[in-house]
């Protein structure tokens, strides 16, 4: 190809991605850089800022409240991510087996619906579902609990139950999105693979293990990473329901970051937390990508 043509193509390509680059730079990169810079400054009374080097890093990273928030976040993540991924995969496999396109679409839409609802609105609805006195959950569970001699459960007001309860909301909210990704990927697997396996005498389980799961690997890794990021950054549901309570039992890193920045007006400390979240997510994502991604070709 003539060099002039290639040059024009390259220029056109650059121009096409330029709006996205500008958007990404303005919305993500600049704030990220601001956060990194801000993490070396503290705001002093009167509103001025003062360069303090790595002092805020030492302060935040030795603060037990911060590590409690990290612990809460990780615990929420451990409860939500595997359940969401496995459940979404199971639902997608079930939907994929439906022969009627109408039925499949209807079911898929139902699963997807929660994803389209505002998280804050959903959280408020769930707050009512979980209400110990008026909640529909205790209403239905009441007789069973009473038979076991257990008092009505205080879902969001219990130190032990608050995180599993919030994890359930996250699973509910994210299940549809993950299911859609898996379903699309399942539909892209050629039917011939399964036919060949069937001729070789493979049953459903070996087909799932040897064909479906390996071919879904890129999607599984991607969904797991997305879920990890979503759950690490979870804020809306916690903010709308518990505000980190009771007694800090559901305070996540992002909740603490928000309070630190906007309630306590410590922008430097909050920037340190933002940098921590960024680095932690980056490392975990890279690690996950490296460990679990398999290139499968048939």
């Amino acid at each position: 190809m003539p060099p002039a043509y290639l040059k024009r193509q390259r220029r056109a390509g650059l121009l096409f991605v330029l709006p996205a680059v500008i958007y990404f730079g303005g919305v993500f990169l600049v704030p990220l850089l601001e956060s990194v810079i801000g993490s070396f400054y503290r705001t002093v009374p009167g509103g001025a800022t003062q360069f303090v080097g790595t002092r805020l890093y030492v302060k935040v990273l030795t603060d037990p409240t911060f590590w409690q928030a990290v612990g809460n976040t990780v615990s929420l993540l451990v409860m939500s991510v595997p359940v969401t991924v496995v459940l979404a995969l199971a639902v997608a496999l079930g939907l994929h087996r439906l022969r009627s396109l109408k039925a499949r679409s209807a079911w898929a839409a139902m699963y997807f619906l929660p994803f389209s609802v505002s998280l804050v609105a959903a959280a408020l609805v769930w707050q009512w579902i979980y209400d110990p006195v008026y909640g529909v959950l205790n209403y239905f569970l009441g007789p069973a609990l009473a038979a076991l001699g257990v008092p009505p459960l205080k879902w969001l007001q219990s130190l032990d139950l608050v995180r599993p309860s919030l994890a359930l909301v996250n699973v509910w909210a994210r299940l549809g999105f993950d299911t859609m990704i898996f379903l699309a990927a399942l539909q892209a697997i050629p039917a011939e693979y399964y036919e060949a396996a069937a001729i070789d005498g493979a049953g459903a389980w070996p087909a799932l293990r040897r064909i479906t799961l390996p071919l879904l690997n890129p999607q599984i890794v991607m969904v797991a990473i997305l879920e990890l990021i979503f759950n690490f950054k979870v804020f809306d549901t916690v903010y709308a329901t518990t505000q980190g309570g009771p007694a800090g039992a559901s305070q996540t890193v992002i909740m603490l970051l928000y309070d630190t920045a906007f309630k306590y007006f410590r922008l430097g400390d909050a920037s340190v937390m933002a940098v921590f979240v960024f680095v932690a997510l980056l490392l975990v994502t890279l690690l996950q990508w490296r460990l679990f991604r398999r290139q499968v070709e048939y």
């Binding site: 009374p45 903010y239 007694a247 800090g248 309630k263």
Partner: protein, 420 residues
Amino acid sequence: MRGAWTIAMAAVVAVALAAPSSWAQPKKLVFWTHWEQNPEFNKFYETRGKDFAQKSGYEVQVVTVPYQGYEAKYLAALMGKSGAPDIFMGMTHHWCGQYDFCDKMPADLAKTWDENLPKYIVNVGKWKGVRYGIPIEHGNFQQMYIDTDLFKKAGLDPDRPPKTLDAWLAAMKKLTVLDAKGEPSQVGFALRHKGHPVGITDKFLPFAHAFGARMLSPNLEKATTFANSAEMVAALQFYADLVNKHKVASIAFPTPEDAFGQKRAATIFRESWFFGWVKKNAPDVAFKVYALPCGKACPGAGNLFPWTNMVAKSSPSKQAAWDFMRFISNAKDDLDQHQAQGILPVWTANLESAYVKSRPDYQSTQEMLKQPVPPEYYHPKSNELATAFGEAVVAALYGKGQPQPLLDEAAAKMDRILKD
């Protein structure tokens, strides 16, 4: 003739182009408030803004920012300056102390307010002796609201409220109804256990003050020996026992206001705005208001949230903003605005008005005002300090630990915050 038309049209176009943008739309003073529970009170600024517009050309536009997260919006706007309000509601020690967002009040207006405020709120709105803010709520201290029907049902006389904490606890026990499983279906006291720890601290402080405790040293420089004093430990033990031992308050119940409005709680401690709230949201609840019960001390008129109106330093219309504030700084407007919402007015001249005298909290307010002013904590870091303290309170309520170690830990944390 055609030439004259052309000249006339050109003149019209030229005038239209040269005209200031203010001709096209009236000039506006943007007023931010997060008092979402008081819409009539907020509307007053717009109503009077229309009168103000006739002499100044400035109208007032009120923007009600949801309370949850208002700090984030205020901070972003005031830091960014673009889109910031001209006038905003908040706490002076935060916005003028921690940050430098406030314009100093003109001396004549400051004098007007200093001369017309009840003594206990003269310092509200000041930072380091300089007045920035106008206090907007006189009854911004908790009093005891009782449900008279539930009192009668429990065999208690609603006209003879408990005056001491011991008598109060005894009454709360009579007012609590337990179900077959021993869980309260109706409680004596609507206790705040949910939400941000700052609010939880606020609701606990009257108990702490009744026990003779204080959260910080008088100069607001130290927490240890104050936040974890023997008196504070006793107060927190008493408070936690309401839930865990006596079961006269419940953490299973929703927000305390709802519990009171739904007749699931017989008493609540809240500020003067609650009178208007109950009237509007729970009109079938018959209630009376009394001074808070006393322990070693009687909790007087004090608060953790001294709300004021301030003018933004960055406002291009700050002169007009102060003129508007001056315009409504008089006894009549004060009475009209507060009466519209059912809140106690601020001006001393209005404290004996027919409206105030007709309120169910008139006597109790007088009684509360007679008590010494309880400790105040108007520190730029008050939110962070109250959070550290509130975490100990809520942990005790949820049985996560004993008051002494929880308060020791809180006091140490508060000292770190104060030193930082």
